[in-house]
Assembly symmetry: C2
């Protein structure tokens, strides 16, 4: 392999990816782009990337560009990167030639200028970014993915080796990408030990609203509730058991990342929130009425999650 | 020390307590009481207790009786145990004589029959159990505690060494117990490496509604929401990230334990649920209106939990 990988956004996801792609030999060089100068300095000091470069430089030099910025920015950045690919300027590192076949044109990678470059995004919502690139002439050089891993921390300081091991990675609308490009990115995630799952972008956004986005909203609401009422922070600190800590953990998540996710996945998130509020109301009614049978019923229904999660 | 400790209810809490009190030398003998015959057999096979005995036998023989049953049962059981203490029948094991002073009467432990026995409960709500025992003639031999530790699993199989290490243990209305009895129970929790916190029962129930009970309700509601919508369980399994798993973890909790907690702490829980639903509605409105500034504000407010939890 030995690709030159350019990572734009050296936060938790971009940074962790940079780390393992280099350590595990997928990348022989990792270029990093980071707007925040403190974070950029840190990423270099920690050793996440070989070089911090400009956006233009990264897009020009990398075989694979990984867009790891908040999804609001990514939606504009990916088409721009494809434009830059089209405008040429890439000096191929030769990595593709070593692993791929010679029949790029047949397999659908744009055979003209910058023929071998690939851009991927790693964002948590997929429909808008897929829509924004759908009719781009170089759409086939874009692979839209969502590696489902993370922690509640952010920034290059939060990057960690092995973050992705054993988790699922969604490939959204993979049929819109060149098969060869998909294959390369499958290899990339294979090196990160991720299980690929193929899904259309719309389904992805429905499912993640349920199994990821709503969890964040419920945690934010929990933190707000407790902070609102427990003026004495010492009590929260003293009394918080493991249960509370794990339920509220996601409330530490970063606004820059979550504001665009919640607005981009607006319809699905709203729908799930409404269902959730309805369930809370049912629970509230049962408690208000001291209806032990109904509370038991709701708890036992909820307990079914045991069969699915671990 | 070398007390004979009787544990009634060999589940997660009772079983873990039995395990460490014996291993760490606080108890030279642990008697266990367990209604469920399979659980009783398991507790003996696993080695949680030295002997499984009858309730009557346990109350008669133990220096310290630990009531580790759901709080609905405990509210009736603790007064009954105090009645049995009053009726006599305890053959002191001599453990108190070795560690305590001779002046039991001065220090307030009932000096008559069964003079040295102590009963404690370990339940998650404190007001009802303290009210139910308030005027009992042997109230001073009861110490009401809440060791704030646990997992979402239940039964003797869930018991584990070290479960309590480093966590907080509430002593509720400790002034209603004999100082000597409190001292012995402080030693017991000291052996379990717990930090004692003293609080009146009513405050305890308010605070735990915020930092524990609501977390369980929000997890139950989350599980119900996801199970309701994601008919295809394979998707939940595939897509559930670490975030969802940790947020929904408490939804595995046992109905036998949680139904009485939610009804006993009815007023506080209802109040917190109403605040929580209000916060969810605020969040819903912000998302519905694509109000990015407001979503950001709510998230950043929620982020303050970072300063308190780890």
């Amino acid at each position: 392999m030995h690709f030159t990988v350019g990572v734009i956004g050296l936060g938790l996801i971009g940074g962790s990816m940079a780390l393992d792609l280099k350590r595990r030999g997928f990348a022989n060089k990792v270029l990093g782009v980071e707007n925040d100068s403190v974070a950029a300095q840190a990423a270099q000091t920690i050793g996440l990337v070989d070089e911090v470069v400009s956006y233009e430089d990264c897009v020009a030099r990398a075989d694979i560009v990984v867009v790891a910025v908040p999804v609001g920015t990514a939606v504009k950045m990916v088409p721009d990167i494809l434009d830059r690919f089209a405008a040429g300027g890439h000096a191929p590192s030769g990595a593709f030639a070593r692993t791929g076949s010679q029949s790029d044109a047949e397999e659908g990678v744009c055979p003209s200028v910058a023929k071998e470059q690939i851009v991927i995004d790693v964002c948590s919502t997929k429909e808008q970014i897929c829509n924004a690139t759908k009719y781009h002439p170089l759409r086939k050089q874009f692979v839209s993915t969502h590696p489902m891993a993370g922690t509640e921390y952010s920034g290059p300081w939060a990057a960690q080796p092995g973050l992705f091991d054993g988790r699922a990675c969604i490939f959204a609308n993979a049929e819109e990408s060149a098969p060869k490009a998909v294959k390369v990115i499958e290899e990339l995630y294979g090196v990160l030990n991720m299980r690929p799952i193929y899904m259309n972008a719309a389904s992805h956004d429905v499912h993640t609203a349920y199994v990821s986005h709503i969890s964040h909203v419920t945690s934010f609401a929990l933190a707000l509730t407790v902070l609102d009422k427990e003026k004495d922070e010492k009590h929260i600190f003293d009394l918080a058991s493991g249960g509370f800590s794990s339920t509220v953990r996601l409330a530490k998540s970063n606004a820059d990342m979550w504001v665009p996710i919640l607005t981009q996945n607006h319809d699905n998130v709203l729908h799930v929130m409404d269902t959730y509020i309805e369930k809370m109301q049912q629970f509230r009614e049962a408690v208000a009425n001291y209806d032990e049978a109904r509370i038991r019923e709701l708890i036992q229904e909820a307990n079914r999650i045991k069969k699915i999660i671990r």
